[in-house]
Amino acid sequence: MAKRRYVRVEPPTPTPRALDDFAELPEGRLAVLGDDELIDYLRAARSAGRQEAMKPALAILVFGYWDILVSRARLRLPESDVEDVAAEAAASAIASAFDGRSVGELRSWMHTILSRRIADYYEARTRRPQTTPLASEHGGVDEVWGAEPAEPFEGDALFASECLGQAYDELEDERHRRTIDLYVYGPLSATATAAEVGGGMTEANVHQVASRFQRRFRELMDDD
């Protein structure tokens, strides 16, 4: 009867550790830090070899963006691939903070990577034959994978996003951009947006700017 034994595997290259420079923070303190501060904390924990201390900071970052990434992916991908693509985007974005590249704001970088991964997904499907059969190929008998995806055709979705981007880029007044950011793309009401933008902006102005923006967006879509 063979027995299991354990042999040491080559450890990663050891590096100098700044053990004295790292102070572990409780979850409550970490939860109120911004993304950049959390990344700095993670870098410090990793440099100090304190892998366990990285856990709460990673939990806060991943939890904070996970549902957002998954929801965005659901707009474009079949459900069976949503979490995989979202996970890869989250992992790549957070890991990028450790490879010396300057990626700017983590949130933007994460969404940029997700968009790329979605584009890669469709590109890969055009390059190689689909190997996973859809439920319909089972003559409706096999319901193992449930209903087929109902996501909009990627080309239409991409075109609509481009039109939206163009409509936004055409806004020349910085206050109008701010209005769209807060009211259309953001969570604020028209009243709160007017107060936030200031400079004489009224609730009626907010509705007007938003309507004009939406109308221009649809014109660009209709021009196709």
Binding site: R46, A59, F63, A160
Partner: protein, 207 residues
């Protein structure tokens, strides 16, 4: 207010009420044609600007974010880049059990008689215990064909984050399991063992 604007407002309200973004598909299903594409673009832009969700430990524990964060922690602690976060997902996506993948990998590497050794190395790759730089292109090519991922992309994932940037193990170190007969001599030190590498060792550790 147009239907699209109304649906976007409903979507944002659902997000505000729950604290987490709602599944956008039921909202998209209530629109059709160009309206549907327009609504999708607006929700997409809204989500891309959404702030980080406040941390909720209980909801985190029950969410798919928990295993994701754990695999990322393993990745940042190990020497295999993002493989701990990526490989198990790709394997699941390919609907393969680990034993099935290993068997296929061993066959593609011409190492059917050393499936157990291939299994040990693959386990180390998934756990982030095997330095990515040592894993040959031959292995990555074979693995990529099985799990539907390119060799280049696997290589890139293995190199992220940069190995050695403080990735030293915590006390207790890292151990991999091997199976040995009772009568076999004790495992030699790594330096000595390197001289006795066989073809499989070289494939997974020789670069």
């Amino acid at each position: 207010m147009t239907d699209v604007e109304r649906l976007l407002a409903e979507y944002k309200e659902a997000h505000r009420a729950d604290g987490a973004p709602a599944d956008p598909r039921p909202y998209l299903a209530r629109a059709s044609g160009p309206d549907r594409a327009a609504l999708g673009a607006l929700i997409d832009a809204y989500l891309a600007r959404a702030p980080r969700r406040s941390f909720d430990a209980a909801r985190f524990r029950d969410s798919a974010a928990a295993p994701m964060a754990e695999s990322l922690q393993r990745a940042l602690s190990g020497s295999g880049g993002l493989w701990p976060a990526l490989l198990p997902r790709l394997r699941n996506q390919a609907r393969l059990r680990r034993a099935e993948l290993v068997s296929e990998l061993a066959a593609r590497l011409g190492a059917q008689s050393q499936t157990e050794k291939v299994a040990a190395y693959y386990h180390q790759m998934e756990q982030g215990l095997l330095p990515a730089t040592g894993v040959s292109d031959t292995v990555l090519e074979a693995l990529g064909r099985i799990i539907g991922y390119s060799r280049e992309a696997l290589r890139r994932a293995g190199e992220l984050p940069a190995p050695g940037a403080g990735a030293g193990p915590e006390p207790g170190a890292v151990f991999a399991r091997t199976r040995r007969a009772d009568s076999e001599p004790a495992e030699p030190a790594p330096e000595a063992a390197e001289r006795h590498w066989d073809a499989v060792d070289r494939l997974f550790r020789g670069g």
